[in-house]
Symmetry: C2
Subunit: 440 residues, 2 copies
């Protein structure tokens, strides 16, 4: 494998050299947050926190990175020497992965000498945005599917291999039942799921022969793809195989339908399977599914057990980018903010507070300066997750905890926010001195 090319924008390095030369390397705070929402989003599920902390902990420039940068013929040798020795020495405050968050709320704040904070920008934006976007999209699909399962089939559809890995992780975080991505499943310890492709069936001259070849090999975990030629005869062949398996003490797992009118076809298939006494055989559907299609199929009582989602999930097709920003909010003890039209930012180091009703439903959030008094009856969302460059236990970002957290928090969202077409915005208040300073 070629060496991973360093993911950093040129200007981070040129600014760093200018800071370094001018000895302008005071303490700074950078804040990472989303500006507003895409049209079809009303909340975000924070993703990429664990990956970001891991990146920051191992942050540094290898000899090969330095040699690449040197090759651009633009940097001072002494600065490159400084860069080679640079590590992250600061503090990170972050929300825990899987937390539901809203526009303007920091997901991550970095307190560090400005050079260190600046150099993290490109990678942190890329990581947090990619993971948060996928987790947020997946949460919508999980909600639409109710008590039915969703499986991540997006490995071939994402923009590259790390997005495929992020999709597997974030979809599990948001409540999917498994992924087809073998490497991700193994690395994350989550279920690997799969059926068969049309190519398998077509490589045999006869569908029944193909079904038998597969079922013989995996007698207890076979899901037969029934739509290569005709779904009705496909289901008939599946029933034949199910009966043959059962005489050997095995059970056909399920069938999959990948094209056509999934609602009608699943009803027909369910009827045929049930009439054959195969109530345990599940029905998986796939092919162009997004949260809207899933909702509509279930609203029409399609007897579907499991939805395989690929393209629409893997690229977050209705909102492929979130307008995240990584902004300097404090330098050398002085809160700073940007005032470009439409891109104003809140100054200063912050805390986010979440207020809940008696029944546990989230009522509103508040953003304050980090050093202000606690908002009463509210829980702070940002915790110290790295101090002096070393990860600390302030927030548990393990995948298991993040999945539990996401499920718990989504259940506590006001119902209006869970509609697939947003009808209202969650109440996020700016309180205390921050309110005064930002309205000036």
């Amino acid at each position: 494998m070629p060496i991973e090319p360093v993911l950093i924008d040129l200007y981070e390095l040129t600014m760093a050299q200018a800071y370094w030369r001018a000895r302008h390397d005071g303490p700074a705070t950078f804040s990472l947050f989303a500006r507003g929402y895409p049209a079809s989003r009303s909340y975000y599920v924070a993703g990429g926190i664990d990956a970001s902390l891991s990146f920051i902990e191992h942050f540094g420039f290898s000899d090969s990175d330095i040699s690449s940068i040197h090759g651009l013929d633009r940097f001072d040798e002494e600065f490159l020497h400084f860069l080679r020795g640079l590590k992250f020495t600061g503090t990170v405050r972050s929300v825990s992965e899987g937390t539901v968050v809203f526009a303007d709320e920091p997901l991550l704040e970095i307190d560090a000498p400005i050079i260190e904070g600046q150099l993290l920008e490109t990678a942190l934006l890329n990581i947090v945005t990619t993971h948060t976007n996928l987790a947020s999209k997946a949460a919508r699909m999980v909600h639409a599917a109710g008590d039915k399962s969703i499986i991540d089939f997006s490995a071939r559809r994402t923009h590259g291999a790390d997005a495929a890995f992020a999709a597997a992780r974030q979809s599990w975080l948001a409540g999917f039942a498994g992924t087809s991505h073998v490497g991700a499943a193994a690395a994350l310890g989550i279920p690997a799921v799969g059926t068969m492709a049309h190519s398998f069936i077509q490589s045999y001259e006869d569908e029944l022969e193909a079904f038998r070849a597969y079922a013989t090999e995996f007698p207890n975990s076979t899901v037969l793809l029934v739509d290569t030629w005709d779904v009705e005869s496909g289901v008939r062949n599946a029933i034949t195989v199910a009966r043959e398996l059962s005489t050997q003490g095995h059970r056909l797992g399920g069938i999959r339908i990948d094209s056509g009118d999934l609602g009608e076809l699943s009803k027909m298939a369910r009827r045929m399977l049930d009439e054959a006494g195969l109530e345990h055989v599940t029905i998986t559907v796939s092919g162009g599914l997004d949260e809207f299609r899933i909702r509509d199929l279930l609203a029409n009582d399609a007897p579907i057990d499991s939805f395989g989602v690929g393209s629409a999930f893997g690229v977050a097709d209705d909102a492929p980018h979130i307008d995240t920003a990584y902004k300097l909010v404090e330098y050398d003890g002085r809160p700073v903010r940007k005032e470009s039209p439409g891109k104003q930012t809140l100054p200063g180091r912050k805390q986010v507070w979440r207020m809940s009703r008696q029944d546990g439903t989230f009522e509103a959030d508040a953003i304050t300066y980090a050093d202000e008094a606690a908002v009463s009856d509210a829980a702070p969302l940002l915790r110290v997750s790295m101090a002096r460059g070393i990860r600390v236990d302030g927030s548990d970002n393990s995948l298991r905890s993040a999945r539990d957290r996401c499920r718990d928090q989504i259940a506590r969202l006001p119902r209006a926010l869970l509609q697939l077409e947003p009808v209202e915005r969650y109440d996020v208040r700016i309180l205390g001195a921050l309110a005064t300073d930002s309205s000036r």
Copy 2:
């Protein structure tokens, strides 16, 4: 760095074990192509060919991959042993990278024992689709910008790090002037480009002081960001710095505007710069730019020299996925095809032929079986790029050649296809025995 998790869908492996057990490993052909177009596309620029060939050449399962797969507790030990020794031994026929291609036309065909061809599916679809999508989006932007420059600022916006690398490569292929992605620029030998961030300016109390600090460090390559507080005073400060630089024998490179009404602001800035005798100082704009905004700005005579594009390009926002497929089209000498509703495929090993008018404009393409007689006065697009698992010189997929090829081919497209809102489809004909077989 953790070990790269193997990017493969579970079913490729289960099918492979079933093929292996049944000694069902005859010669197969798989064809990779796009089904139709997203609403805003009328052509594709083939990308990811070089990366695919590289992947195929090094294809195999490492000990760590085998151990991951073994951990799923589903595979036969003997099969895993077979897998550990597997290499690609087949033939690849592919279009050259940067070729303009259309729906249904194979970008890549794999002739190999079915197990080898099957196991490549997930990764090849991911690679070719990601790169082709980015190249196709970039080509639209280049066309919209006419003789103005476009720079890739998407490193922070893509879905993951390898998409950022693909974006840098494919945007250069399509005619961009450079990328902000340092690692990609170094690895690909293309220009690294950058300006400065708002954070740099805000870390100083005074904009002029910030501009001076940067310009002192990079006196011949400074592009000043003028919209942190107010563009008019930003440009005034830039003029001051330009004059100071010029007394030292240096030249300010340019200014960048990242927010507000880019058309009006660029006109004001140009006027101010020209009045100060700074005609050589260029204007770069950025912030939410796509091909439509670029077209509209230039149609309104905005005096912009260079467009920095991030989100809209990096995620191909108007068409984040292309419906590509990797289909078995021949097995053991027998053409096969899928007949699922809406997903019919053309059977057999294929060739694509391009017919041009006298003036060089592309007139129509034809798809035939690969072994049929040449279509007269037409150039074949698919060439052997790998034989017996080793890359051969049939197609030149170097980035330099691909960039030249893309420019040449876009210039030869019928003008109607270049409109940003597609008005017609290119004529792709099915000829010869393939026509007879697919209309049956």
